[in-house]
């Protein structure tokens, strides 16, 4: 089957730093594919190569059937790109921005109105407002509309939800779901692990490399160690105390809990509690939990 995006051993360095290091993956047509990783993982560099803004040092990639180096002109007409930084004209109004990008792609707002309708209705009341004076959520909707105005086959969204409030983030993912049902392949990057569940498949990225790739449940399913959630009233001291323990494998802070793994695998919870109470953690609690994507990521990151 032909893929919407097919990347083979792509590498890109900036000086000594390998921003993208021998990355290969493929995205099926109509898929919602997510790149998940912290800042500096190489997501933006990868996206810039796939949208023909950067040339790879080595490797090859095909987007929508076109080679990113040889057929870069064809790719520019076939993909939509929404950079992480708001890149529309702040001194032009909502309508002027949208019209400009429509005309540049040789189309009109009317022609593809059905595609952007759901997003655009929220923007229309601000039609005459300058883009620079829109709120973060509105800017994001405008940027998405502009990236969609020529009905691209593949849509690249670089950290579209960064700096956006949780309600707008959810709204945004709903919109992506609708676009997916229109048959548009979507490749999205995000630093938020919890957004992994919104994607069909995900790739975990760190320091220019893909750590793992696949369905969320499969990636998480590979996590085969016993995981415990621990808590006490003095979390900071608890981390230090646990790290001092001989049998401790990993301890990470996850919100209100510490996620703990032990070198022996299964632990005796009662014994653990007693030890910790002795160390002054009177209200210590410990429970087995099933791992989440963050645990998988941490585990992969540490090469376990």
């Amino acid at each position: 089957m032909e893929y919407a995006v097919e990347v083979k051993s792509v590498t890109k360095s900036f000086g000594e730093t390998k921003a993208v290091d021998d990355v290969s993956f493929s995205v099926e047509k109509g898929e919602l594919f997510g790149f998940i990783g912290p800042d500096g993982a190489g997501k933006t560099t990868l996206f810039r190569m796939l949208t023909t803004l950067l040339l790879p040092d080595s490797g090859s990639a095909v987007v929508d059937g076109f080679d990113i180096v040889k057929d870069y002109k064809k790719i520019r007409g076939a993909v939509g790109y929404m950079p992480g930084r708001f890149s529309l004209y702040q001194d032009l109004s909502v309508e002027e921005n949208l019209k400009f990008f429509a005309r540049v792609f040789g189309t009109t707002i009317e022609e593809n109105y059905d595609l952007i309708k759901d997003i655009y209705v929220m923007l229309e009341p601000f039609n005459k407002r300058r883009a620079g004076q829109l709120s973060g959520g509105m800017k994001q909707k405008l940027a998405l509309s502009c990236a969609l105005i020529h009905r691209p086959d593949v849509l690249f969204l670089d950290e579209p939800t960064t700096g956006v409030d949780p309600v707008s983030r959810n709204e945004f993912w709903d919109m992506l779901g609708k676009l997916k049902s229109e048959g548009i392949t979507i490749v999205v990057s995000t630093p938020y692990m919890d957004e992994a569940s919104k994607c069909d498949r995900i790739a975990l990225m760190q320091k220019g490399k893909i750590l793992d790739i696949g369905f969320l449940r499969d990636i998480v399913g590979k996590y085969d160690r016993e995981l415990y959630a621990m808590k006490s009233s003095n979390m900071h001291r608890l981390i230090l105390d646990l790290r001092a323990e001989e049998n401790t494998d990993t301890v990470f802070s996850f919100g209100d809990f510490l996620h703990y793994t032990d070198k022996r695998g299964v632990i005796d919870k009662v014994q653990m509690k007693n030890e910790m109470v002795l160390k002054g953690h009177a209200d210590f609690s410990v429970n087995e939990i099933s791992p989440g994507i963050e645990d998988s990521f941490m585990s992969l990151m540490n090469g376990k």
């Binding site: 949208t51 002109k73 007409g77 890149s87 004209y89 032009l92 002027e96 400009f100 040789g106």
Partner: protein, 370 residues
């Protein structure tokens, strides 16, 4: 073609949405012409001078009255002591001391010649030169007068009589000279600063990223960026030219169409410089500093304020490759002398060649920087 049209429309929308732009376009030429053409002048009037007249004769008084009756000099003090007269230099009360020695008249009557000394405060060298010229010409005139008037008629009456006439600007009106130069400075500023900064702005704000994933071609982008400033520059020149003609009575002896032709090609050169600046910078601030650096050099060595002819040879050679100097010279030639196409052809050729070279370099740099 339609893509370029879309880009132009967007560009003009942005340019005119910029609050500073309209005042800049209409008031900048007016103010520059008003202030520079009136304030900056080579002409010096009301020069105060001291007289040390040790002769106290008819001739000496006559000479002093020649100075005071000219429009240039005002008598500050009469004394009999040169040290006292020179004191005035320190306080800047006087810039010239006319020293008439004893026997000034007697020497002339007996020997047919006598001497007078000018002591000039030369702190400001160019002013001193002008004062010297004025004083000399008054003396020369006086000399001619007494030779004819006096009973003494030496057989060697002046063989050579030098007369002056200032062509193309008979009244030495500084404005006539300055207006073409200011117009040159104006279109140059628009061509380099505004265009360079405008291109860099897309980089700085990040919009270039979004444009680069569209099917817009590089040449379309460059034309879309530069053409608006070409149009504004030409508009500005026509506007400024009209201000000069109707408000300042500056003559336009040559063809306005020839000016437009020359300006059209000249704008191409300065726009290339603007684009070149934009390719080596990432922010508008950097672009402005680099453009400013070159503009100051080009402008000061461009003959707008000081004549190129009085620069050292090496500077004159550089001036030949300075588009501002070339355009400035050609503008003055057309406006004040009524020069024809063939007279400004060397400048036109220079613009065509340097325009093509610079634009090729700029476009090449632009592609590489992507």
């Amino acid at each position: 073609m339609s893509t370029i049209f879309v880009l132009l429309k967007k560009e003009f929308l942005q340019i005119f949405r910029n609050r500073a732009m309209i005042p800049l376009i209409f008031f900048m030429p007016l103010f520059q012409l008003l202030i520079l053409s009136n304030a900056a002048t080579y002409e010096i009037k009301n020069i105060k001078f001291n007289v040390v007249d040790l002769d106290q004769s008819y001739f000496s008084r006559e000479l002093v009255s020649k100075f005071t009756s000219s429009n240039y000099f005002i008598l500050n003090k009469v004394s009999f002591n040169i040290e006292e007269a020179e004191e005035s230099f320190k306080t800047l009360d006087a810039r010239l001391v006319v020293y008439i020695p004893k026997d000034f008249e007697k020497d002339f009557r007996t020997n047919g010649k006598s001497e007078v000394q000018f002591i000039i405060n030369a702190e400001d060298a160019s002013a001193a030169g002008i004062i010297n010229n004025y004083a000399n010409s008054i003396t020369r005139q006086y000399n001619a007068d007494i030779v004819t008037k006096s009973s003494v008629m030496p057989d060697k009456t002046p063989l050579l009589n030098i007369t002056y006439s200032n062509w193309y600007n008979p009244e030495l009106d500084y404005r006539t000279y300055m207006v073409p130069g200011i117009l040159v400075a104006l279109v140059t500023l628009i061509g380099t600063f505004l265009s360079g900064m405008n291109v860099v702005k897309e980089k700085e704000i990040g919009t270039i990223e979004q444009l680069n994933v569209t099917p817009i071609k590089k040449y379309q982008f460059i034309i879309g960026k530069l053409l608006p400033f070409w149009i504004i520059g030409i508009f500005e020149l026509i506007f400024g030219l009209n201000l000069g003609l109707f408000l300042f009575d500056v003559p336009l002896l040559g063809s306005p169409l020839l000016i437009l032709l020359l300006a059209s090609v000249y704008m191409f050169v300065v726009l290339a410089i603007g684009l070149l600046v934009s390719t080596v910078t990432n922010t508008q601030q950097q672009a402005m500093f680099i453009a400013w650096f070159f503009m100051v050099l080009f402008m000061l060595m461009g003959g707008i304020f000081t004549p190129v002819e009085s620069m050292p040879d090496w500077a004159q050679t550089i001036a030949y490759f300075n588009p501002i100097a070339q355009f400035n010279k050609a503008m003055r030639m057309i406006m004040l002398k009524g020069s024809q196409f063939k007279d400004v052809l060397p400048a036109l050729n220079f613009f065509i060649v340097s325009g093509i070279v610079l634009m090729t370099l700029a476009v090449w740099r632009y592609r590489k920087s992507e």
